[in-house]
Symmetry: C2
Subunit: 249 residues, 2 copies
């Protein structure tokens, strides 16, 4: 097992990352399968004394996904006293998920700073398991395996945040391929929101944001007439992300 240098870590503080990807009309999330037990966890980690919190979240993600320079957003810090569960931690030692030496470290009360990320599914080649996990896989948010501690709550809070932010921010830049059709964009929205949207209203609304550029190309190799492909105007996209999509006051 890897040695955990706990003396260089900030006590009481953990990080959990909810990494969303979009694939075959499903919203997926990156999860770690713990060793020796049917229990899964969000990727994350601890904070080195000499490293900024936000940088540690990016580090954790880069290690698991190989992706750097991704959109990572702090969404909530989880600080309930019930997060700590000594029985659960003993069980992890019993099952040889964590080394007995680590028990004391794992069994302290942690607050966890939650981050979410939207990544392009196709660019994450092979997620890499960590020291306490044996696999790292994309799981559908609608069919989650059993998750450790409050990780399901953290994941659901991230999903809820994403839904709310859809009302005020553009989305898609890191979830879709560079070129996409309006029906593909609509499908992304429908997947995140978990409901069907009206085709014409969706098109009208999304066009009104003025963040799409039509490439005048169509996807090749499809049987019936393929829809036009679009790209995001990245400058306008980022500006809308900053300012919000609402008309404002």
């Amino acid at each position: 097992m890897t040695t955990l240098q706990t003396q260089s870590l900030l006590p009481s503080v953990a990080i959990d990352c909810v990494v969303f990807g979009f694939h075959e009309n499903e919203l997926k999330v990156l999860l770690l399968k713990l060793k020796n037990i049917d229990l899964w966890a969000l990727p994350g980690g601890f904070v080195n004394q000499g490293v900024d919190l936000d940088s540690e979240a990016l580090n954790a993600l880069e290690i698991r996904t190989g992706l750097d320079n991704i959109f990572l957003k702090q969404f909530h810090t989880f600080g309930s006293i019930e997060r700590n569960d000594t029985d659960h931690n003993r069980m992890l030692v019993d099952k040889k998920v964590i080394d007995p030496e680590w028990f004391e470290w794992f069994d302290q009360r942690f607050i966890s700073v939650g981050y979410y990320a939207l990544v392009e599914y196709s660019q994450v080649r092979e997620p890499i398991p960590g020291p306490i996990s044996e696999a790292c896989e994309w799981c559908s948010v609608n069919d989650l395996p059993p998750l450790m501690l409050d990780h399901r709550h953290i994941l659901e809070t991230a999903h809820m945040t994403l839904k709310t932010e859809l009302n005020n921010q553009p989305i898609g830049l890191n979830l879709l391929p560079k070129r996409f059709s309006i029906p593909e964009l609509q499908s992304l929205y429908e997947t995140i929101l978990g409901k069907k949207l009206d085709r014409r209203n969706f098109r009208r609304k999304v066009m009104s944001f003025d963040i799409l550029v039509c490439t005048n190309e169509r996807r090749t190799g499809v049987a019936h007439k393929a829809p036009l492909l679009y790209e995001f105007d990245e400058e306008k996209y980022h500006a809308a992300h900053q300012a919000g999509l609402s008309s404002g006051w």
Copy 2:
């Protein structure tokens, strides 16, 4: 000086509260004046091992303002390594702001969970100073005194969050008296946003939210014809708060 029972506190974690009030067309914020030095701080504190993070934020606020049951929102966790400043902490000991016994505790690296609150100015009778402060006062956000560490950055981040949320959420319930005129509500928005709004557009937009109830009364004792007074429909207000004001998808 009060004894700080540091052994019962969670290491590395602090709380800072940005408490906004609205008075005489100014957005104000509650600040503590440190003892023996011209330096101010946001009210906040540390987290007891046995107490939830969110409860500690409410406790800190109740102690300073006497208000309970207030709208308190976690908005960001500040985790830069530059937050820790040993020279600054030594200076606080030299100036007898903090007891030399506390130096070690204060000089650890803290991440700080930021909360903001909107309180009705008139209901906070006399803010109460804390163990390291000699006064607790409402200061205008446009004319801030010197603030310790990164407290100005925390305050400005809270203000920015509030401005952004104005696009998606109703505001006013805890900032205005129970009954208010539309011009008074507009004045609140203008103060938070730091800009003038068009009177007719504001009225039309705010009425479209369907969260106001007209009382058919007017403020008495004003010379010219007084505007009608409104109240929030609290049920609709809270529903809009949950769902967001945008039309949604």
